[in-house]
Symmetry: C2
Subunit: 287 residues, 2 copies
């Protein structure tokens, strides 16, 4: 058996086509969807992510601006920029690119961006909606969890009733994904660096999502071949000069489905962000 | 082997002693901690819960008031009562006893009570703190999860690294408990009524918490005896005219620890509520 590869490309193209159409409609009403990324410093990984966001943003016809601030920007100046962008009617989506400099980490970053422009889905209002499962229309799902759920759905992987083991409890992926999957009737185990007996747990998984960020952490020992496990790889690690996922190549021999790195969760995350931007723009016009 | 019984009584007495002391200190400063429970209608189970809350509240020296509203109370009148109590400086803790009448369910009940008086720990600010793990000092843990964690701690049950399977995904128990345990480095599986292969999952549990509300749902088939599983029973069901938990009596023969019903999680929940009341009062005086 060789796992079926869940390439993002066909789904990304489908979503982009829809987003282009919605973007054209907005332009015909005189509105150009516009996002601003605030970058503090010049972290090279951040610059790569930003390049991917800019590319897809421009491909669908939206405007992308980068506000790059020096790594020693004062707290006050940083906050003033966010307040100004929150108030600017020509800006529909705002991202604070993580990580920021240490001296800014004590700020309440998730709640600083207006929740109507929070296309990352990190605001408390969005968090509470995920947590309670009472999801409103003018609400933004965080991009990586949203991308993963859409990718599974596209490849016909049902989650209801299934045991999903999520590795990694970050606020960007693991925690929101676990809550969203619970709301979709999956049985979710949230495992992490402190988990004992990881293999015992992963071998009971129907779906295994790795968002730990360690090259080839997941090996075929973690998979029970009779389960035809669906493996989703969120890792974006650098290994021998190349991008590598959390999942070792030997897993392809024992899993049922696998998402590739690159070309899997990464592009799904970016297209989900642009989708949030278009939705934010539409909502802001509707008022 | 017979499971060790985790009776709440000794811990409840210890906490009550501390609460009495703090209550006396507050009284010597001229402040009597005071809570109000808003009850809509006359649900018999609610009346039992309220009786338990009143009893422990009065035992530590705090004031308890019941505001009973007719089941057809208007939305406006209901909201006006909450607003009045939020503003009343003599009231330090407010509970909206659930369930409320159907016509009130569309209200944003968790965020209606001021978060400084939200001794149930249901407000969005409290929820976000649990979710992010950034727990502030003037923050209230929801009472049942708090009581469970304190009970485990009292009986020397470590949670870090352990696999905890929680049955039931309510906003009152399952979801907040799963997040709190994750923050304490447990590996948490949140299972529920739609879970397939439940037994396979529960047999890998080091700690099994049942908050489903079905009499004797958990049987010895769910337990792997070699694990010496710690079983926490949150059920408060009526069975043959008596209070019964979710856990079948045969589990005592295969588990390592078990919390009794009655006399386990129930009293821990009530004492946690009264602790939140005393903390709320202290915080409101500190300002």
């Amino acid at each position: 058996m060789t796992a079926k590869i869940m390439t993002a490309q066909p789904l990304v193209e489908e979503i982009k086509k829809d987003l282009k159409f919605r973007c054209e409609s907005l332009k015909s009403r005189g509105v150009v969807p516009s996002m601003v990324v605030i970058l503090v410093g010049d972290n090279p990984a951040s610059l790569t992510y930003i390049r991917n966001k800019r590319k897809m943003c421009e491909e669908v016809g939206a405007t992308f601006d980068l506000l790059q601030l020096p790594s020693n920007v004062s707290e006050k100046e940083f906050q003033d920029h966010v307040i100004r962008l929150n108030e600017d009617k020509k800006v529909h989506g705002i991202i604070i690119q993580l990580p920021v400099s240490d001296h800014l980490k004590k700020l309440d970053l998730p709640n600083m961006v207006s929740h109507t422009k929070d296309i990352d889905g990190f605001h408390g209002i969005n968090t509470q909606a995920i947590y309670t499962g009472k999801i409103q229309s003018n609400f933004f799902l965080p991009c990586t969890p949203k991308g993963i759920i859409n990718l599974l759905n596209f490849y016909g992987v049902a989650v209801a009733g299934k045991h999903v083991v999520v590795l990694g409890r970050s606020l960007i992926v693991g925690k929101p994904l676990s809550m969203l999957l619970t709301n979709l009737n999956a049985t979710v185990t949230l495992a992490h660096s402190k988990t004992e007996n990881l293999t015992e747990i992963t071998r009971t998984a129907d779906i295994l999502v790795s968002a730990i960020g360690k090259t080839h952490l997941v090996t075929k020992a973690h998979i029970n071949p009779s389960k035809k496990t669906v493996v989703v790889d969120v890792g974006m690690n650098t290994f021998e000069g190349k991008t590598a996922g959390d999942v070792s190549p030997d897993v392809a021999g024992v899993a049922g489905f696998i998402s590739p790195v690159p070309g899997g969760v990464g592009p799904m995350t970016v297209v989900s962000l642009i989708e949030n931007l278009i939705t934010a723009t539409e909502n802001q016009i509707k008022g």
